[in-house]
Amino acid sequence: MRFSIYRYNPESDAAPYMQDYDLDVKAHECHMVLDALIAIKNNMDDGLTYRRSCREGVCGSDGMNINGKNRLACTTHLSALKEPIVIRPLPGLPIVRDLVVDMSQFYKQYEKIKPYLQNTNPTPAKERLQSPEERSKLDGLYECILCACCSTSCPSFWWNPDKYVGPAGLLQAYRFIADSRDTESKERLSELTDPFSVFRCRGIMNCVDVCPKGLNPLKAINHIKELMLEEGV
């Protein structure tokens, strides 16, 4: 199987380039794209650089652009892809080396929305009660693995990575706004009313299209807008 992989090492390369590898995926028992990357690194080119950890789609390390679409290497079946398999780093973020991108801008946007539960009421001795209905509002939100597939597929994030929170950050913003145990929803909403943080979303749904966990940031963003309207009007 032929792979065309984006290569760039700042110490030796003036500019990025694409490198081709022909790998016998059967002989190396590769099922997923990550298996193939590992086989290439182990047997053909130990300098090939990528991130990986859990290899089962829950840690979010190996988000990359495979055949034009952002996905996790470890849950993308080779059999589902057209040859040659073109692997590039996540779009829009500065490249550290090969498929490793500098995620700091992405994390900064995540931190901006105060991604932690705030509750100013006295802490009870036992758990804070939450009905299954209230809890179910968090489904589809808390499962995010911060792989950045969504935000780096979003043109609004490409053009304004420093101002637009991006789908991943906004999904988490809504995760806390929607949590019946969080007392700071109003504050959270009012901190997002500027023209960039939320309103750069043009509803193009690239985020929904690529999310490896099947989550829907657009829906969360629309909920945020709706709640702002309720609060503001």
């Binding site: 130990d46 859990c54 290899r55 829950v58 840690c59 509750n119 809890r135």
Partner: protein, 586 residues
């Protein structure tokens, strides 16, 4: 060569559940702490934990008692666990879980708004009575929910993060540990991080086996560091094989799937656990289920064209239970086994999952060694918590959902103890230039070695040896062979080399440094597995099939120079009567 130095009150090595719980405890109280993690913290292996966390809240059953939880844990440990530590863990469990809830962990809920609790292996009411529902969960993504919650709270508490930094070695002085030498993976820069205390929270080392549920990053980095510093590891022969890893892929299918009512069948469609464990059946403890499954496969009742696996049946639970309680494993099963559990059973096989042993610590998380007379001795400035530590609460076999509990309870305990110590004047230790450079020794070796074998060659061989000779069933003959092969491999490792010597995000170098740690872990395992001539918990010897309480009711210790030592098991809980030794039946 002068190395740049940065100073903190405490350095936590590892950004998983234990590390983040410890750092949160300290950062919240205003201490200047730094977490160094070789991956961004939410990529740590805690994220993969599925089933849940045990605490005797009694939410589902209406009654529960931490003493029953303690009984189950001691029995599950095959009596190798320290009863004072297990007592502490089970007693602290409810409060620790409530704390997590207050931090925002999105637990699944009961209709009355309390935390939902599911059944799990080896959990009973009334000291071995009916099945208990003790496992709190967030669907089947509890570890993910926990890790993210803890990371989020650390952002709030302004913990310093050194993400994608790799700890090379501890800096050891004559009076204890003075910090750690670590490398920024992105730039290759090496820094001495100096601290009053260093907390190891480096997790497990499942990657010494070929087939493991563990992440690529679980390479026993803490074990290597401790051994190289001259301190011992404890109970390293006890590796848990999880009964239900997806055949071929190694991906975990939570015990919660059996807790919700799923069960294992062989090729005849027989629910074989009824034969091996008539009372608890599929919810017997993991060592029992794993061994029974291997026996079924060996006796020709495995499924599939080669009879290599058994099947986990879930379809009878119905769409609602699966989608509501087990949505994550449904995804995993579809992706990695090509099977939708709503319709078909999942092919599973026992897969290396967890190390019960590790770095010996006391209840406060302080790392222990033994002096010449075999007496416990606290190592100043060094703590350990989580899977890398051996407190020991899991003994010879860990119960499902006690692992997340271990992380939380002892991460917190280490944090609390450290705060106390700082109040009582715990200071910094001054390391000499030689001591700091010593910690860089192996980095220099990898930078200088040329023309040797590759990291992959040695790692693959190591994993093969461990898989074949130190698996679920062990015999002296195979282990001896394996041990000899390992010793030779260890020698070859000294000459191995990497081709890529660049400084920028050199994962090749990181894998090499990790290989040192894998090797150290494997050797420790091999030594102690050979040593223990009995079967207990996860350590099952064909040539010594019975538990031998007379000779082996003790912890084993291994030092890097090959010395072996022993520690007594604590049978003296503080508040309750000791749990008496009995034969284990489920």
């Amino acid at each position: 060569m002068a190395v740049a130095t940065q100073t903190f009150d405490a350095i936590i090595i590892g950004g998983g559940g234990a590390g983040l719980r410890a750092s949160y405890e300290m950062a919240q109280s205003g201490l200047n702490v730094a977490v160094i993690s070789k991956v961004f913290p939410t990529r740590s292996h805690t994220v993969s934990a599925q089933g849940g966390i045990n605490a005797a809240l009694g939410n589902t059953d209406g009654r529960d008692d931490w003493r029953w939880h303690m009984y189950d844990t001691v029995k599950g440990s095959d009596f190798l666990g320290d009863q004072d530590a297990i007592e502490y863990m089970c007693r602290e469990a409810p409060e620790s879980v409530y704390e997590l809830e207050h931090m925002g962990l999105p637990f699944s809920r009961l209709d009355d708004g309390k935390i939902y609790q599911r059944a799990f292996g080896g959990q009973t009411l009334d000291f071995g009575g009916e099945l208990a529902h003790r496992t709190c969960c967030a669907e089947d993504r509890t570890g993910h929910a926990m890790l993210h919650t803890l990371y989020q709270k650390n952002i709030e508490a302004k913990t310093n993060f050194y993400n994608e930094w790799f700890a090379i070695d501890l800096v050891k002085t004559s009076t204890g540990i003075a910090g750690v030498v670590a490398m920024n993976i992105e730039t290759g820069e090496v820094v001495y991080l100096k601290a009053r205390a260093t907390i190891l929270a480096t997790g497990g080392a499942g990657r010494i086996f070929q087939a493991t549920t563990n992440a690529h990053i679980n390479t026993g980095d803490g074990f290597g560091m401790v051994l190289r510093a001259g301190y011992p590891l404890q109970d390293m022969e006890f590796w848990q094989f999880h009964p239900t890893g997806i055949a071929g892929a190694g991906v975990l299918i939570t015990e919660g799937s059996r807790g919700e009512g799923g069960y294992l069948i062989n090729k005849d469609g027989e629910r074989y656990m009824e034969r091996y464990a008539p009372h608890m059946k599929d919810l017997a403890s993991r060592d029992v289920v794993a061994r029974s499954t291997i026996l079924e496969i060996r006796e020709g009742r495995g499924c599939g064209p080669k009879g290599e696996y058994v099947l986990l049946k879930l379809d009878h639970l119905g769409e609602e239970v699966i989608n509501k309680r087990l949505p994550g494993i449904r995804d995993l099963s579809i992706t990695f086994a090509g099977v939708d559990p709503l319709k078909d059973p999942i092919p599973v096989v026992p897969t290396c999952h967890y190390l019960m042993g590790g770095i010996p610590t006391n209840i406060d998380g302080q790392v222990l060694t033994i002096d010449k007379d075999g007496k416990d001795q606290v190592i100043e400035g060094l703590y350990a918590a989580g899977e890398c530590a051996c407190v020991s609460v899991h003994g010879a076999n860990r119960l499902g959902a006690n692992s997340l509990l271990d992380l939380i309870v002892f991460g917190r305990a280490a944090g609390k103890h450290f705060q106390q110590s700082v109040k009582q004047g715990l200071g910094f230790r001054e390391a000499t230039v030689e001591e700091i450079e010593k910690a860089m020794g192996r980095l220099n070796r990898w930078n200088n070695n040329e023309g040797g074998e590759s990291v992959e060659t040695i790692r693959a061989e190591l994993q093969k040896i461990m898989q074949n000779d130190f698996g679920v069933f062990r015999t002296a003959e195979f282990m001896k062979q394996g041990f000899d092969k390992l010793e030779k491999l260890q020698e070859r490792l000294q000459h191995a080399s990497i081709k890529d010597k660049s400084s920028c995000f050199n994962t090749c170098r990181i894998e090499a440094l990790e290989l040192d740690n894998l090797m150290a872990t494997a050797i420790a395992t091999a030594y102690l597995a050979n040593e223990r001539t009995e079967s207990r918990g996860a350590h099952a010897r064909v040539d010594y099939p019975d538990r031998d309480d007379k000779n082996w009711l003790k912890h084993t210790l291994y030092f890097e120079d090959g010395r072996i030592g022993f520690r007594a098991i604590n049978m003296k809980p503080k508040e309750v009567k000791p749990i008496e030794l009995v034969a284990r039946h489920y």
